[in-house]
């Protein structure tokens, strides 16, 4: 790195340190929840007892969609979206657009019909502004809560998204300042930490983890900021500049194929045939179907597929109402472009789902490393200032949040399963989180000895992880025998991960804190470097 002047280094150190301190706890919350929800789909399947349906969107969808379309008023056939939930049930949402009185924004409104994938039996029907009612479309309140916590820290829109967007920028800034400050980046990637529990050893660990995770930190901060700001700030602003404030026109330009209006009645061709052809072309399973102008001559059917093996990108095939294949659509816009290519990278790079379980697992590992970097950075800062009462208090807050947040997330899972039989899991899951968070804070305030505090948190986490699979089964979830018999690998895998985590936490020895050791031996004060 080009050498910086003393004043530049001092400024960067201040920016790196203070941004980390002021935003570190919130950033930790975003990163640890993000680490967990890399496996959001798997958590949803696990929490609802497994998905027994094989390819719900390929088994006689045509009859189900036609039956649903006949049961709704004509105005709601403007768009019919079809997808499957974590239980493998088919969801059919026939909708129009109207201004939502609660938000003041244009929103989708219509009946959401939940159908059994095999029998076609209608399981439920709910009418209204569907996206405001997660309990209508998401069987897993746990997945919904954890994702919401990550995306917007459970703060109402748009402020939660703006907050997480700012945290994404902070992560980028911390990564870049850390990189510029780092005099020996390449060397430090391969040099082990200095032994012992001195401040320099702690710094070595922070630097080592941060160095290896640097590209990941920048990438996730950047893509996270993009996702947070795109809908809240960017697109409304660009709609004003480029489309005179018409957000619908902007969305149509970006996402909807150009169609000449033709309202003449025309029955929709067989949807199953279209899906089969689309699947053959894409080389991957369908995940979402959208029918525009059902029953009209200008009808269009969009079918989205998982990324095929070896590809990063979802496949979007377009058919007309007669079943004729029209084109493979780019991720954005009406024809392939570099902009569409770059846009389509943002999702896979942020979610880590470009190579299935393998890439997701790497993303989880890197996310956990980032959590360590954030916490260790704050601990370094407070250790250097441990003579001041304020920073000793903040160090305690770091410990409480560091352990308390995963404990509260675990508690939300407990609240979810306990509320399943007769209460509202969408209320109790976040309530469980808040109750556990409050208890963690009380515990952190009540217990003065750091070693006892750490031990208490780790044991609670360990017991929580070990007992959760048992509670899941006791609450009516799939047993291990059933999971094995039906090939429900996700259920078994997550139970196993919880068991291993619990065991690891029980075995993790608590080291005596440096401050306690210092108090006992009164060593000379040491420089950080």
């Amino acid at each position: 790195m080009k050498s910086l002047s003393q004043s530049q280094m001092k400024r960067l150190t201040a920016v790196h340190g203070w941004s980390g301190m002021l935003l570190g706890l919130l950033l930790y919350a975003v990163v640890i929840t993000g680490t967990v929800v890399v496996f959001a789909e798997e958590i949803a399947v696990w929490s609802v007892g497994g998905n027994r349906a094989t390819a719900p969107l390929t088994s006689e969808l045509d009859s189900k969609v036609h039956a649903a379309a006949e049961s709704v008023t004509k105005g709601y056939r403007e768009a019919i979206d079809v997808w499957s939930n974590a239980r493998g049930e088919v969801l059919i949402f026939a909708h129009a657009h109207a201004r939502n009185p609660d938000t003041g924004q244009m929103d989708d409104i219509g009946p959401l019909i939940r159908v059994d994938a095999e029998s076609g039996e209608v399981l439920s029907r709910n009418d209204g502004f569907v996206w405001q009612r997660a309990d209508w479309y998401d069987p897993s309140a746990l997945r919904h809560f954890l994702v919401d916590l990550h995306v917007q820290l459970s703060v109402p829109e748009p402020w939660g998204l703006i907050l997480t967007g700012i945290l994404g920028l902070a992560m980028m800034a911390a990564g870049v300042t850390g990189f510029i400050m780092h005099r020996h980046l390449l060397r430090d990637l391969f040099v082990a930490e200095r032994p012992g529990k001195r401040l320099v050893s702690a710094r070595d660990r922070h630097v080592l983890a941060a160095s290896w995770g640097l590209p990941f930190a920048f990438l996730l901060g950047f893509t996270g900021a993009f996702f947070s700001f795109a809908g809240t700030v960017a697109l409304p602003l660009l709609a004003t500049i480029a489309f005179g404030g018409d957000q619908e026109a902007l969305v149509e330009t970006l996402y909807e194929p150009a169609v000449q209006t033709d309202p003449r009645p025309q029955p929709l061709a067989n949807l199953d045939a279209m899906i089969a052809e689309s699947t053959g072309r894409a080389g991957a399973a369908p995940i979402f179907v959208s029918i525009g102008n059902f029953g009209r001559a200008d009808s269009r059917v969009s079918i989205w597929h998982e990324p095929p093996a070896g590809s990063l990108y979802y496949v979007h095939n377009l058919f007309d109402g007669t079943g004729r294949f029209l084109e493979k659509r780019p991720a954005i816009g009406n024809e392939p472009s570099t902009a569409s290519f770059v846009y389509s990278l943002m999702g896979p790079l942020h979610f880590g789902n470009f190579a299935g379980i393998l890439s997701k697992s790497v993303w989880v590992g890197l996310g956990a490393a980032m959590c360590f970097v954030i916490l260790s950075g704050m601990q370094l800062w407070t250790r250097r200032r441990e003579e001041e009462r304020l920073w000793r208090g903040f160090a305690r807050a770091v410990s409480v949040v560091g352990y308390g947040l995963p404990l509260a997330m675990l508690a939300s899972a407990y609240a979810f399963f306990l509320s399943l039989p007769s209460a509202d899991p969408f209320w109790w899951t976040p309530a469980g989180f808040l109750i556990a968070a409050a208890l963690a804070i009380v515990f952190g305030c009540a217990v003065q000895d750091e070693r006892r505090l750490t031990l208490g948190f780790r044991r609670s986490l360990a017991v929580g992880c070990l007992a959760l699979p048992l509670l899941r089964m006791a609450a009516g979830g799939t047993s291990w025998a059933e999971a094995l018999g039906h090939g429900l690998g996700t259920v078994l895998a997550i139970d196993l991960v919880l068991a291993l985590l619990g065991a690891a936490l029980l075995l993790w020895r608590v080291q005596e804190s440096p401050r306690a050791r210092n108090a006992a031996f009164r060593p000379l004060s040491e420089a950080a470097e």
Partner: protein
């Protein structure tokens, strides 16, 4: 140097910490937002008609990072203030022209 500019330079040098906070905080943020808003004015839509929408949305966080790091590292504070102010002014004028003209 004109008197007004000399006074502004003196003001910046008299309050270096506040100036740097302003530049790195609201300054970099405003520059990034105006960058995003001004790109549709000058960037063509491209073959798919979307370049002027997609690129500013994707690049805005990067532009912010560049502006932020620049304002942290720039040793010559009056120059840093001039660069950021010029970026804000130029991009702001483009946005204003687009709004007055009824959109890009």
């Amino acid at each position: 140097m004109p008197v007004r500019l000399q006074r502004m330079r003196a003001l910046v040098l008299a309050h270096p910490i506040a100036t740097r906070w302003l530049l790195a905080g609201p300054g970099a943020l405003l520059a990034a937002v105006l960058f995003m808003a001004s790109v549709p004015v000058w960037l063509p839509g491209g073959s798919a008609g979307i370049d002027n929408i997609v690129y500013p949305v994707i690049l805005a966080p990067l532009f912010w990072a560049i502006a932020f790091i620049y304002t942290c590292l720039e040793e010559n504070l009056p120059r840093g203030a001039a660069v950021v102010s010029a970026a804000i002014l130029l991009q702001g004028l483009m946005v204003a022209a687009a709004l007055v003209g009824g959109g890009a």
